[in-house]
Amino acid sequence: MDIEQVRELVQLMVDNDLLSISLRNGTEQITLRRPERTGPPHVSYEPMPAIHSMPVHPASALPLPPAPAGSKPVETEADAHLVAITSPMVGTFYGSSHPGSPPFVHSGTAVTPDKVVCIIEAMKVFNEIPADVSGTIEKVLAVNEQPVEFGQRLFLVRPH
């Protein structure tokens, strides 16, 4: 089966609103899946209007993280084997212990579960946040001195 045939199958799915196709022919096998639609949201529509009546910054200016608190598998393709360290609280993120000090971790740093990876300040209390996982920091997602909400992804880690 060549790419053109796959393309045709995909078109067939889209045109007919199929959820999945699974084909096997001898040693050849292909499975295609599309997301299940739930309710009204799939009609394209005008988004909820911006708030006109006052000067605003947009709703949910904070990134809305899909992952809950703790460290857990990341689901996107590219990050298939990475886990995220998420914020266990609401507060301000600090990547280092003092302004000007080197950061606790950066991309490439090896971490153990107890290793402090950042500080989150909430109500004047500076909370040291441990990695909670063993591995290597792949990416620092949070920005120094910026607010983070509960469950927000702070770091991506390639676990050992």
Partner: protein
């Protein structure tokens, strides 16, 4: 005036406060639990902050996270709504210590009125009648039995920290008293971490009538008349209305003046409610104060035209009330039905899940406060109230006719709701004639279900 208010609540009351803020041109920060992430009212906030997982004790009851959210979002005030932390004096203190104005009374007033024993004390000093009772906590079963005999059975056991009927028992003799004391203490400790109990004379077939008060920081105290909330099930209000159909003019006036005396004696500010039991036409007893906005506040908004949430915000910002007692002229009759996602045919079991069909009524004299819509998923983790349906018409008779047609129009599926129960109540002679007390519905349900 505040620049940015954090709304420390969820559901319809979060939306109610959002609406008031938007109308006032105040920015909003709305906190939410992971369970409420997709709630559509969040789109109306200028900013939203996730504060924890679905369980309320890890999110909406987590005062540190809420205050931290207010700090990172630079909110200068916080509206607690009702429930959750709304009556926590400690939370009010914490907010103010963090330079975030708590939109509500002072912590001292909350403590004095929140504790039922000290509230009774205050009432006595203010010459407001209270239900004859133990005048303090019960020391021992023997002490209780002596008091009960003095008051005369039946007596009511109540938890000093109680609310929503928890810890409450009616004892009709010594034996029942001793058994129930133990049960109430256990229940109260579990619910409120406070086993303090007291006794009261049990008032037979009372009405529940409450007076809405607003008071600013310059000493202006105004009552916004009464609400009758006698249609209850297990001490949970189902229908509220104003004016009360069971009061004569003199008693109404006495209640309102009593509430004002209590408010002044407590140095109370912001919006609050003083609840009374009314027996017969004339006898009344102060029972407790609610130091927050109440679920049923829209009933008062409709008859007085006063926006209570905006009034709360203005008072908290230090502004004067802007109206005097003589400006308050209630018009017509307003009734509220609480629409809960519960199945009356199955012991009022909560009915969670997705609402596939939600077709509310509309038209003249109808107000609907709801955060739900078709496709909304009702979480089993929170209160089951999904809408407050209100009507406001020139007379109680017209309001009842309007509510009947509204209830008939209201079409919700597959979620089970209390709409059908309301339809039945609005056909009952006792309701239509205004002749019901707080026990009426349970006596009737015991026969019908």
């Amino acid at each position: 005036m505040f620049e940015r208010i954090l709304i420390a609540n969820r559901g319809e009351i979060a939306l109610r406060v959002l609406r008031a803020c938007r109308e006032m041109g105040i920015e909003t920060v709305c906190v939410f639990s992971e369970e409420d992430r997709d709630a559509s009212y969040l789109k109306l906030a200028n900013r939203t902050v996730c504060i924890g997982p679905g369980a309320a004790r890890e999110s909406y009851l987590k005062s540190d996270r809420i205050i931290a959210a207010a700090e990172i979002a630079n909110a200068d005030a916080l509206h607690p709504g009702y429930g959750f932390l709304a009556e926590s004096a400690a939370f009010a203190d914490k907010c103010r210590e963090s330079n975030i104005e708590f939109i509500g009374p002072t912590a001292e007033a909350m403590r004095q009125l929140g504790d039922k024993a000290s509230a009774r004390e205050l009432a006595k000093k203010s010459k407001v009648p209270t239900v004859p009772g133990s005048d303090g906590l019960i020391e021992s079963p023997d002490d209780a039995a002596a008091t009960a005999r003095k008051l005369g059975y039946p007596v009511m056991i109540k938890a000093t920290a109680g609310g929503g009927g928890r810890g409450m028992r009616i004892a009709r003799n010594d034996a029942e008293l001793r058994t129930f004391l133990e049960q109430s203490e256990r229940e109260s400790k579990a619910a409120f971490n406070d086993g303090g109990l007291y006794l009261e004379k049990y008032v037979e077939r009372p009405r529940h009538v409450e007076v809405q008060i607003v008071a600013d920081h310059s000493g202006h105290v105004v009552h916004l008349h009464e609400r009758d909330c006698s249609m209850q099930r297990r001490y949970q209000k189902l229908i509220e209305e104003s004016p009360s159909p069971g009061l004569d003019a003199r008693t109404r006036d006495d209640l309102c003046k009593s509430a004002i005396r209590l408010c002044k004696a407590a140095g109370y500010t912001n919006a609050g409610t003083f609840e009374f039991l009314v027996a017969g036409k004339r006898e009344y007893y102060f029972i407790e104060a609610n130091t927050r906005i109440q679920v049923e506040h829209p009933v008062t908004e409709l008859v007085t035209g006063i926006d209570l949430i905006k009034t709360q915000i203005r008072i908290a910002a230090g502004e004067p009330l802007g109206f005097a007692q003589k400006d308050i002229k209630p018009v017509g009759a307003a009734i509220e039905c609480r629409i809960n996602a519960e199945d009356p045919a199955n012991g009022f079991r909560p009915s969670a899940g997705t609402i596939a069909r939600f077709r509310p009524p509309g038209g003249f004299g109808v107000r609907l406060d709801t955060h739900v819509h078709e496709g909304y998923r009702i979480s089993p983790k929170y209160d089951s109230m999904i809408a407050k349906l209100l009507v406001h018409r020139a007379t109680r008779e017209e309001a009842i006719a309007c509510m009947r047609r509204c209830l008939d129009e209201f079409d919700v599926a597959p979620t089970k709701t209390t709409i059908g129960l309301h339809r039945q109540i609005f056909q009952m002679d006792a309701f239509v004639n205004g002749e019901f007390d707080t026990g009426f519905l349970e006596r009737t349900l015991a026969g019908n279900f």
